[in-house]
Structures are given as structure tokens and as C-alpha cells.
């Protein structure tokens, strides 16, 4: 979006695409991240980071922005899972991020299913979420996670 000499605003096609992308894709991606991290508040921060990164790339370099955004969210969540101790997650959350930490009064964060998901370790949450939330086949899950699948 550019401000013209007359003070008007010229909206570029790329701006429209990006706005549509955010409106159409981000709500579901935040929920996907919430499941992958078993932490809805942290998912907001992760999506904020991913969007910031996307904004720094020329859109022309990205063939499928929606797929790029989805993969970026999954990969960012997986990296956090690998490092995830509650301490690391807390450090990430507190590192100048806008969202507030979940507390005992956060009913969504403390939903029994999120609590169960937080008990899974390493790659387990990703497999479960991609298979039963995203409805991917196990072969597609393996491909998404870049790991060999059973023949």
C-alpha cells in the first residue's frame, strides 16, 4: 500500500492478496498452532513471528503463500516442540511478546484436551494433530514432517 502525492492510498495487488491470505488462513493456522503446541496463547506469538518473517520476503518469491504460511507455522511449532520444556516455552512467551501468559484462570488453555496434548512428547503432538485434526494420511504426515514412512 502506497500513499499517493494527493494523500490517497494506492492499494497494490500484493496488498490485497496478503490481506485475503491473512483473513482466510490465519484463524485456522492459529488454531493449528494451538493444537501443535497445546498452547493457544503461544500459538498467537508463533503466528505473529511467522507473519513478520513472511512480510520480509518478496511475495513474488513464494509460489503458494497459503501453503508457505501453513508449512512455516508447522515447522516453527515443531522446532519449539523439540526444544520444549515448560521453561523454554515460558521464555519464548515472555521474550517481549504481546500476549500474556496463560494462568489458572485461562479456561481455554486449561481445557482437558490441551492438558492431555501437553503430556505428549517430541514428535507425538505433530503426528496426532496432522493425522486427526488435519486429516492427513500417515504417509502425508511423514512427508510433511520430512521423515521416512513405513512401506
Amino acid at each position: 500500500m502506497n500513499v499517493r502525492a494527493d494523500g490517497g492510498v494506492a492499494i497494490e495487488p500484493a496488498d490485497i492478496d496478503l490481506a485475503m491470505l491473512y483473513r482466510n488462513e490465519l484463524p485456522r493456522l492459529v488454531r493449528l498452532g494451538a493444537f501443535l503446541l497445546a498452547d493457544p496463547r503461544l500459538a498467537e506469538d508463533v503466528c505473529q513471528d511467522v507473519v513478520t518473517t513472511l512480510l520480509q520476503k518478496p511475495m513474488a518469491d513464494i509460489d503458494n503463500p497459503a501453503a508457505y504460511l501453513r508449512t512455516a507455522v508447522i515447522n516453527r511449532c515443531r522446532r519449539l516442540q523439540k526444544r520444549s520444556t515448560s521453561r523454554l516455552l515460558a521464555e519464548y512467551r515472555y521474550a517481549g511478546r504481546p500476549s500474556q501468559p496463560a494462568d489458572a484462570d485461562d479456561a481455554l488453555h486449561n481445557d482437558a484436551f490441551f492438558v492431555r496434548l501437553r503430556q505428549l512428547t517430541t514428535a507425538q503432538p505433530t503426528v496426532v494433530v496432522l493425522a486427526y485434526y488435519e486429516d492427513l494420511t500417515l504417509a502425508a504426515v511423514a512427508e510433511q514432517m520430512d521423515i521416512p514412512s513405513a512401506p
Partner: protein, 31 residues
């Protein structure tokens, strides 16, 4: 619980919590 029942349970729980997040609409989206 059979495997099929477990899979149905998981899908049901994801759907329930997905709906809850959509209905509560209190996840702050990046601006």
C-alpha cells in the same frame, strides 16, 4: 477402547476444541 474408537474420540475432541476456539474467538490474530 478399539483403535477405531480411539481415532473417533481424537477427531471428536479436536472438533470440539476447534469449535470452542472459533466460538470464543479470543485468540489474538497478528495484525
Amino acid at each position: 477402547m478399539t483403535t477405531d474408537q480411539l481415532e473417533d474420540h481424537l477427531r471428536g475432541e479436536f472438533h470440539r476444541l476447534d469449535q470452542r476456539m472459533m466460538e470464543e474467538g479470543n485468540l489474538a490474530l497478528p495484525s
